[in-house]
């Protein structure tokens, strides 16, 4: 047996599976293709998200302030109503007292 000859026979060049060239060329094409222009949302997504967050926070703050003002106005109105009723009650009692004195 001739080992040199056997090795030369065993270690012949070998064809790769078909499509190797196409795969490499496709990889090269994909690496060289200019990047697709990002959409408006992708380009400004972070800024838009931040702005939307700020708008929501401001709206919530404004709503809370408005709610507190409305509550305070309602409480002031109720307090004024109670004062008026008390004043009317006092005036009514004074008038009743005066009427009784006149009748006597």
């Amino acid at each position: 047996m001739n080992l040199d000859q056997e090795l030369a026979n065993a270690l012949k060049r070998k064809q790769p599976p078909p499509g190797m060239v196409d795969r490499v060329m496709a990889t090269i094409d994909s690496r060289e293709r200019p990047a697709v222009a990002p959409s408006f949302w992708h380009a400004h997504g972070a800024g838009l998200r931040l702005a939307a967050g700020l708008v929501v926070i401001v709206a919530i703050g404004f709503g809370v302030v408005r709610q507190r003002e409305a509550l305070r106005e309602r409480q002031e109105g109720e307090f004024a109503t109670r004062k008026l009723m008390t004043a009317l009650q006092i005036a009514s009692e004074a008038l009743n007292d005066a009427k009784r004195m006149v009748e006597q």
């Binding site: 056997e6 090795l7 599976p17 490499v24 060329m25």
Partner: protein, 195 residues
Amino acid sequence: MAKSLDIEAPSGAGRATAPFELHDSAQGPAVPGSFSQIMLEHEAMVFGLAYHFLQNRTAAEDLTQEVFLGLYQNLHAIRSAAHLKHWLRQVTSRRCIDAGRKARLWRFLSLGDAPEPAIELRLADPAMARRLQTLVATLPPKLRMTVVLRYQEDLEPSEIAAVLEVPLNTVKSNLRRSLELLRKKLGRQLPEVYK
């Protein structure tokens, strides 16, 4: 991973006198169509080196693709057809040896992996070829690549020394050692065939 992709042509590689014909010019970009031609021309060499070294079709395919992608990026540095062939052999060898070191394939492949011969083996017998491929795969990485370059590419020891960037005497002793190992292993496995 290759140590470097910028590879000098060996002194005996014989540079072309004209600019490398697959370029638009000596310094210009490579022509994509020409690159396909280069691949078609050399894919069997690169894939063969990788396959005979790694003994794994998928790994050899991946390595071949990496080598050609590396070539595409360094095509401007290729000066001649001889330089191109040398570059491909050198980068493929480096990547194979690195992959072999990482995987330590030769430690896991044992003589028991080689199929037992079912019939008496003759010269150019496919079973013998397969057995020899398996035995070559049991060699340590540098010896294995030396053998693959010697017998697949039919390179002289001086050319192997240039590709692997090792002294000529190292290549000669590696070849002697590899053949001794292979003869010993074959003699143990097939005493009736290999005498």
